[in-house]
Point group: C2
């Protein structure tokens, strides 16, 4: 496994004017700004291309590439396009001139290898602008386009701010005034190109941190936040600081978005520009989370991983090692076994009764250790079977039996749990397993445990005794583009859109709360167990948004009150063994506020494999994904 570290936060300066780029650049560098913004063309050279008239003008249209000392310097300059460019005016002459000007400026930005160009958008009509941008996103360049829109419409700002609690009422406003809608139009027309990012300009008022307007922005590829100097206030020492809502916004953006850039813009209203830089740096350092989970997940944000296939593939030693480090999971198992032993064996039988504990899928033995600890703590006698199909892990188990568990009654069995035939008097009182994946049943716990029913006494307990998967619809252009660029294991066309991914999801917007999907109970006493499932879930679209797929979670009852969960609302604190799962869809779907989203999910089985299929049937139906498990399935053998 490799990961990608892209949590960098940088601060950029956008001076009100740049008379000499070299001087400005040197000053900004000295003060520690990572980037500076500069106009791509000198404002004197307003150009006329249409009808070829520009051919008659003498001299260059902008500063030369030689005005900075090297290409490394240009890599720290963010280009700004000329303010009079309007590619979507109804005046044909102005439109054509704007297009030609924009093309020339973007070409020049590419020529200079600038990292990005900021393009402001002032309304929902972005059709021609989208076309010009898309025409410049050819593979030979790497330039990013930062689409600048107000964080919220100035007219609505007050409303957002004061009605923060009542978040559901905001997004049903007219789309024309919803600045997210402006961005969404452009993003859609440029085919969700990953080099087109969004840059929000913050005004005096900001939307509520936990409101839908702000959360939706956090699900976008937010690359920059423009902070005009006038939003800073002056504290008692004369330094620029932000109001509490602005502080919250800066911290929230820094922790949710990749590679974020805070751009200080406008005239200096305090002693010096670098005071703004220092203050933002101070705020961002504060954001460091104290959650131990955050340390573990660092670098894995929005990084797709192919789900494990523990039945088909033997896990590697390293994988066992990572998961055994979970500080929570095995304590919970020990607690569950402890209570189960106490419930099964009355105090008066504690010397005479020997409980058979079968750990099926024992791996390198953490659950064996948990069972032995639980028995000691409960003062009950146990005989433990450690059943494991991976012969490599059995080597570790046998070593531990000699070195760690010596004297204890542990029997190592090198066998698939479905094929193990124990002595008739050695059936399990407790069947303990850890076969759950991020989506609960997605590592085939139901099939394995049904296949191990013959190991159990009639009144035996299974730990876990039940588990449930959960699903919520999400918007995340980031995850969508990660899937689109996913090159591994591609067999059929678009198959990368027909498989789930395990991924720590950061840059996303949850469109509606997770709902329970499939539940399994063990032991399953049905004559012929049926582990196929179908369920239709109806979600409320509270905010106009784009559906990019679904996040999946699970929770499990190990025994009675002892549970594990990765559901966001009930997440076991500090447990890191499971990231959520992500089920993509092939084409983004526009969802309007107030509509219902109806999702269909199937769990299906044939002789060789188990797989999921999924689609939506409202607001508009889409093709069923992964028919017959053609792109993704979990092998039974």
């Amino acid at each position: 496994m490799t990961n990608n570290d892209n949590r960098m936060v940088t601060v950029t300066i956008d001076y009100p004017s740049v008379s000499c780029l070299k001087t400005t650049f040197d000053e900004a560098s000295k003060n520690g700004f990572a980037y500076i913004c500069a106009p791509l063309a000198h404002s004197l050279f307003r150009r006329e291309f249409f009808h070829g008239k520009s051919k008659n003008r003498k001299g260059p249209f902008t500063r030369s590439d030689l005005c900075l000392s090297s290409f490394e310097d240009w890599a720290a300059v963010i280009g700004k396009i000329s303010p009079y460019i309007n590619c979507d005016t109804s005046n044909e002459y102005n439109r054509k001139t704007s297009e030609a000007t924009l093309k020339q400026e973007l070409s020049y930005a590419c020529h200079l290898s600038l990292p990005a160009v900021i393009i402001p958008v002032n309304g929902p009509n972005v059709t021609n602008l989208s076309r010009v941008i898309l025409s410049k996103l050819v593979p030979t360049t790497s330039i990013q386009i930062w689409i600048k829109v107000p964080l919220c419409d100035p007219v609505k700002q007050k409303k957002c701010f004061y009605q923060g609690e009542d978040e559901e009422s905001e997004p049903t406003e007219s789309e024309a005034n919803d600045t997210w809608h402006w961005w969404n139009n452009l993003r859609t027309m440029t085919d969700s190109n990953k080099r087109v990012c969004v840059c929000v300009e913050v005004g005096g008022d900001v939307p509520a941190a936990d409101g839908a307007v702000m959360r939706r922005w956090l699900g976008e590829p937010l690359r920059a936040v423009l902070l005009p100097t006038h939003v800073f206030v002056t504290n008692r020492k004369g330094f620029p600081v932000l109001t509490k809502p602005h502080q919250a916004l800066v911290r929230q953006v820094a922790s949710h978005c990749h590679d974020i850039n805070f751009v200080v813009t406008g005239a200096c209203r305090h002693q010096h520009f670098d005071l703004y830089l220092k203050y933002i740096g101070y705020l961002v350092q504060q954001k460091e989370s104290t959650d131990p989970l955050a340390t573990f997940t660092e670098g894995y944000e929005d990084f797709l991983q192919y789900p494990l296939q523990p039945l088909a593939d033997n896990l590697e030693s390293q994988t066992y090692e990572v998961f055994e480090k979970d500080p929570i999971k095995y304590n919970k198992y020990q607690e569950a076994i402890y209570h189960a032993l106490l419930d099964r064996v009355p105090f008066e039988e504690k010397e005479t009764s020997v409980q058979v504990v079968m750990v099926v899928g024992a791996g390198r033995g953490p659950l064996v250790t948990a069972a032995l600890n639980a028995a000691r703590k409960a003062q009950r006698r146990v005989k433990v079977y450690a059943v494991e199909k991976n012969p490599n892990a059995v080597v570790t188990l046998e070593t531990k039996q000699v070195e760690e568990w010596r004297g204890e009654a542990v029997t190592v069995v090198s066998s698939d749990m479905r094929l193990f035939r124990p002595p008739a008097d050695q059936l399990a009182d407790l069947l303990v397993s850890e076969l759950l994946g991020s989506f609960g049943d997605n590592e085939l716990s139901p099939e394995c445990l049904d296949g191990a029913r013959h190991l159990m006494k009639d009144d035996a307990i299974s730990i876990p005794c039940s588990y449930t998967s959960y699903l919520s619809p999400i918007q995340s252009m980031r995850l969508y583009n990660e899937v689109r660029g996913y090159k591994e294991r591609i067999i059929v066309k678009e198959s990368h859109f027909e498989m789930p991914y395990v991924v720590h999801q950061k840059n996303r917007f949850t469109i509606d709360q997770p709902q329970p999907l499939f539940t399994f109970h063990h032991p399953n006493t049905d004559e012929v167990p049926d582990n196929t499932r179908y369920k239709q879930l109806t979600f409320d679209v509270k905010t106009t948004s784009i559906l990019h797929g679904f996040s999946g979670y699970f929770s499990t009852v190990l025994y009675k009150d002892t549970t594990l969960s990765i559901h966001p609302d009930t997440h076991s604190p500090g447990m890191f063994s499971w990231f959520p799962i992500y089920f993509p869809i092939k084409e983004p779907v526009h969802l309007k506020a107030g509509k219902k989203l109806i999702v269909n999910f199937w769990r299906l089985i044939d002789k060789e494999k188990v797989w999921y299929e999924w689609n939506i049937s409202a607001p508009t139906p889409i093709p069923i994904h992964n028919p017959n498990g053609r792109s993704y399935s979990i092998k039974l053998h």
Copy 2:
């Protein structure tokens, strides 16, 4: 060029009961029915799969494959699924039983290699049915699924019939009662699979032939029409006949849909079943069109052709030959030249004035002949230059000069018109060209004629003097699937969805009337001609439908009142030189009645090529197609 003949019309018999398949089959064959319908399972064998109980039943669940004498016989049997199958019931037990039953019956139908299975749909909820169907459409089988829905909802039938004129009011009805919507849900969820077709059941009333309900069905892959015997009435001789509206429906379907099957169903209400067959055969024979165009187009219906590239490629002799046969086009050119000569040369100058007529892109000379004929008829003197860049066609021109035009003043010039430098005193009075494609400017007439301006006197006339392209949004699963299956010239992913096709369009529904798009005038007197174009068109969605792309047409003014057109409303009678063009989109878009459809179209140019880009911005934006002409462009050289 090859074509596909798929205008076959067949009649099938669906007997009310089939006690012995062999007897029934032989009787139907004897009477001339192409297919018979038969239940896939015997009604006595209602099955229970769930919980494995079916394993305990003895004996086969249906008749054996040996009951017909050969596989050729089975190829004439359309399967019918058991009537109690309901895969979308909320009762889980019934749903699972239905799914298992349907899977078994479909497997058996595949085992028998039946051509099709009829599956009835009774409401808009088709999610699980779609999943089971999609799971059976694997590449190893070729079975078709005919989805049976009522032609219109029984409750609405009267309204459709009596309010035929007021077509716009129908489709805004509730979707739940719109049987097209039932089909559309299923089609969408099965990913517009081309093996899923629709089969409409006709009731006592039928929608107006020219109404939106009927026209929309004609844009669907309608594979069968069920005619219950009770819709036949008895004429004075005692024979079964259809009412006038039903007759119109049969003829309309037979002429618009591919490979259509009329299925007579229900109890025989007349002397014998074969009377229905004979009557339908009689109706369908009547449908033969008297339009000469229909003869020419036979076999080209919905057959995609790559647009010509006359500048980059030299046309073949055969291509010239086909187009020269057009009975209309050259007459119109001759008429235009005739009037232009009369206008330019007063009667008193008819002996002294010699008009220079330059035919640019002369091909094998049909316009040279037209010019000579026009001059003779007008009694004016001309000198004709035949300018042609294809050296192979020049051979023909030089031959004709010697053999056909001898004595006439024709000069053959082997040159690209843009490079030809005539003597200074030999500039053209008339510049005559036929450079138009199906979409007007798509064979680069604007660029060629602008490049030939130096050949013209200041007051010279261009024939044609203007042309306009038109666009209309269409629904056609047929064309969409033709594009999806298009394998030629594929360079980048999905590039086959980013190019237009020349295609005679039959199985389609025009969502709104064509609107004018781009217009060009010649000679263009602008200093630097600008042939780029951008236009936004707003269409009214009158009927809830699926957008699969756009049909394109053109009209041209040759000279004054002399015009040519392939616009459906003004089509030059009998002219066959141009089929319409079709611009696909990558993903079908659902359009709701009452909404606006906003389409953006661009014509763009660089040094090497001209190309189109297109998208829609409402009701919901979609990615811009063909950015930078990456998938399709017309070469300038």
